[in-house]
Symmetry: C2
Subunit: 355 residues, 2 copies
Amino acid sequence: MARDVIKRRGGGDASLLRRLNTVAVLRVLHERGPATLTEVAAHAEVSRPTAEDAVGELLGRGLVRESGPPDGPRVVGRPARRFAFNADAGYVLGIDVGAHKLYAVAADLCGEVRAGQRVALDPQAPAPQRVSAMRTALTEVAELAGIDPADVRAIGVGTSGIVDATGRVALSGHLPGWTGLHLPTELAGLCPGAVLVANDSNMAALAEHWCGVAEGAADVVYILAGRRISAGILLGGKVHPGRHGAAGEIGIMRSMGWYDTARLLRDGHAAGEDLVHHLATGIAATVLTVDPELVVVGGGLSQAGEKLIGPLRTRLADLCLYPVPVEASTLADRSVALGAVRLALDEVERELFTA
Amino acid sequence: MARDVIKRRGGGDASLLRRLNTVAVLRVLHERGPATLTEVAAHAEVSRPTAEDAVGELLGRGLVRESGPPDGPRVVGRPARRFAFNADAGYVLGIDVGAHKLYAVAADLCGEVRAGQRVALDPQAPAPQRVSAMRTALTEVAELAGIDPADVRAIGVGTSGIVDATGRVALSGHLPGWTGLHLPTELAGLCPGAVLVANDSNMAALAEHWCGVAEGAADVVYILAGRRISAGILLGGKVHPGRHGAAGEIGIMRSMGWYDTARLLRDGHAAGEDLVHHLATGIAATVLTVDPELVVVGGGLSQAGEKLIGPLRTRLADLCLYPVPVEASTLADRSVALGAVRLALDEVERELFTA
């Protein structure tokens, strides 16, 4: 990468250097919060005139705004102007589409949630009806947040089923008509930005890493346990989708007992010994394969809290080589939608921070 | 990274730029083979005088040598001088340490194997005896290859057991006294370079990616199946060791049946239906977890070739969501030692190609 820069600079591409500097300044304001020009120059490692130029350009593009004076003791004399990343320079939407419900979320470019919208669904609803409900929920959540659809820079979707790299649902066992659906096409026209689609457990895992119990953990096994049980895997803080988008699908092995566990849960059984045993078998296989730092249990089952997590931790310690930390999600049923927001933000940041 | 360069260049660090250019030139000669100065300049994206300076410096350091004229039709007039990466600028050693044998390999900096040395071991040999045999084998294989130990830039070790990030054997179920052993300390003084230690299945997986059936596959599950069965996982072409170095240890789950399979194999049973069934269960759990591009079966069992791989492929297709390609290793019992060579070369290349 370093070579690239030198090559292109060698070619006399001053505008590339300018773009690199602007991106560096934007990144500093995005990561560090409000700052003076002097602070920006220091952290972006550019000269003060360069920082001033870049901030001027970013103010013009609406990506940066002037910020108020800092908290703390008043300083004598006129305080230096301060600038901040403009969280309202655009928005993203995230949506969780499952069998029984949709949950849509609108957030600003700093990831602050502005509105949420929950819709109950008939699990037997045919695909066009489900897609139509998604479009409505996404439109309504933007309205609820007072967001112009033209300002939506990306939409993230977390869906049950296996999703290929293009956003097509390659396989869905329980959403009628869902297999084969190319969701970016189905959701086209809602906003000028991209529609990104991923598996729901993967999105929930991403949310835990972003703002849940897995903050700071790079390698995470996430178990979405409710009416169905599925797993998502983060490696190095990033979703590991696998070749077909099917990583974490250990639950399809009947010997893992996840089908039976999910049936017990659907029938209203509480977290008993059998349930822990079955759940632990599949989790152990996953843990022994990837040796993660942390296991997170989310979905409806996680509401049992320590009543479930305690025995599960003990059982896993028996089955695995090393006792693995196990935590219950604290994001409740918002995790998939929040992960979808994160997916959308990642795309927007990739665009913003590429020179 | 790009920012870094600009920052440091901005600071007027001409010597860094010089080092970057030298590294770029060395990398071109290492990757592309012999080349003229004009070719070097073009591929390294530097000026011809810069290429000439860099080649001069590298000739002085012994990392580059003058190369003969290319094959092909003679050109009228004096041919341009050609230069090549000097594969003899240093050497690496790799060693596979198991219960019943050691296998040591010496290779040049292009990874060309110069000598191999096999030593039978008593599986009950205490650790000091095994370490002493390793030291002897490493010394002898260097001698056999005509290599001065002072020119050995790194030693790679593939050992059975779980190896932590420092090179300590955190857990070894079957090498007496092996648990707790810090192999870089045990092998100190053999050469001026580093001693790098990793799990044997991981090293075998690395070898398959480097020069075996997994060339070109980024995500690979490797099964080392012989007197014991273990798994190694490559993600993005790199070993995924896991938090404790224990990734791929699915075999410790008794329900996977790998213990029983290994016992059958030790007792001399051929690859029958039961064996395929047990082997496939554990592999399926791993495949369903990471969704790899390829499964490679190595170790003694792989000598059964298609007689084993055919039925295994069929059984895995039944158990998994997607039929996964399965290949038998063609590296025979050299895979772990070759992976250890690759591990050592990676370390040397990291040093050579860092400005």
